[in-house]
């Protein structure tokens, strides 16, 4: 093999060797893994409903159980294997939120349990909470402005 001299040649070499992101296959994997995670959620939800809990409580229980499972799978280094295979299929469901908390925390464990684990937990999840909660407050205020019935309650 002739030596690689220029940057361009190297880029060509990389392009040749690296598989070109197969979007159809990725989407298919994302579809069934994401669907499966939601179906597991639905199964837990149905079970809670079967036990006579209301919708809101059941939804909270579903979130807590899925987050718990995903957090521990990430801790055991299993979740990133699923993530590599499924891409957005494991990222977009609430499992991705748990994963995004645990993986940076694990990475910075050597920096200590307070500033390392406790501080870095929110490198990815922080923005999600910031934007999510801010958006919900804005939605609430907009709703308040356009809904005269609730203005009287202020």
């Amino acid at each position: 093999m002739k030596p690689i001299e220029t940057k361009k040649e190297y880029q060509d070499y990389v392009d040749k060797k690296s598989p070109n992101s197969p979007i159809i296959k990725n989407c298919f994997n994302a579809f069934w893994v994401g669907g499966l995670i939601c179906s597991i959620g639905q199964l837990i939800f149905d079970f809670c409903k079967f036990r006579g809990l209301d919708v809101q409580t059941s939804n909270t229980i579903v979130s807590i159980i899925l987050i718990g499972i995903a957090a521990f799978l990430t801790g055991l280094n299993l979740f990133n294997k699923i993530g590599k295979f499924a891409g957005a299929g494991s990222l977009v469901p609430i499992t991705g939120f748990a994963n995004s908390i645990v993986s940076p925390a694990m990475e910075y464990k050597s920096e200590g349990y307070v500033m390392g684990v406790g501080g870095k937990m929110f490198t990815v999840a922080g923005p999600v909470l910031v934007f999510g909660i801010s958006a919900s407050i804005i939605v609430g205020i907009v709703y308040l402005i356009f809904n005269t019935a609730s203005i009287t309650l202020v």
Binding site: C27, F72, I94, F97, S100, V102, V124, F131, A135, S150
Partner: protein
């Protein structure tokens, strides 16, 4: 098993398909744009929040159940719905209380389990 007889399999199928489709949107965003996963999560939560505020997301929840609530858009919807519900009870204050209150279970679970899982995990050894 009485429970397994009570499962609505059509509902399960709708949940699977809608949940999967939402993930496909995420996958297309990953493959076709240069957005980092963090930005994609933010986009999903904010979109869910806006759709929830407009009352549109509720149709999807009614249709697909957990297929709509488990993806992060459902988390956004939960925040918006909580804020609107709480406004009915306590007015402007509700906008600040409601969202986090509705999502409190999920957020607390994520913090708690996240911390415990990080503690018990062994950092990956980098192969030299």
């Amino acid at each position: 098993m009485e429970f397994f007889q009570s499962i609505d399999w059509m509902q399960m199928l709708r949940c699977f398909v809608v949940g999967g489709l939402i993930c496909i949107i995420g996958q297309i965003l990953i493959d076709k744009t240069k957005l980092t996963p963090a930005r994609i999560l933010v986009i999903f939560v904010t979109t869910g929040c806006v759709l929830g505020g407009l009352g549109l997301y509720q149709y999807l929840v009614d249709f697909a159940g957990c297929g709509a609530t488990v993806p992060l858009t459902g988390f956004g919807n939960l925040l918006a719905k909580g804020a609107i519900e709480e406004i009915g009870k306590s007015g402007l204050l509700g906008a600040f209380i409601g969202g986090t209150k509705a999502a409190a279970g999920g957020i607390s679970a994520a913090v708690f389990f996240g911390y415990i899982a990080s503690l018990i995990s062994k950092p990956k050894m980098k192969k030299q």
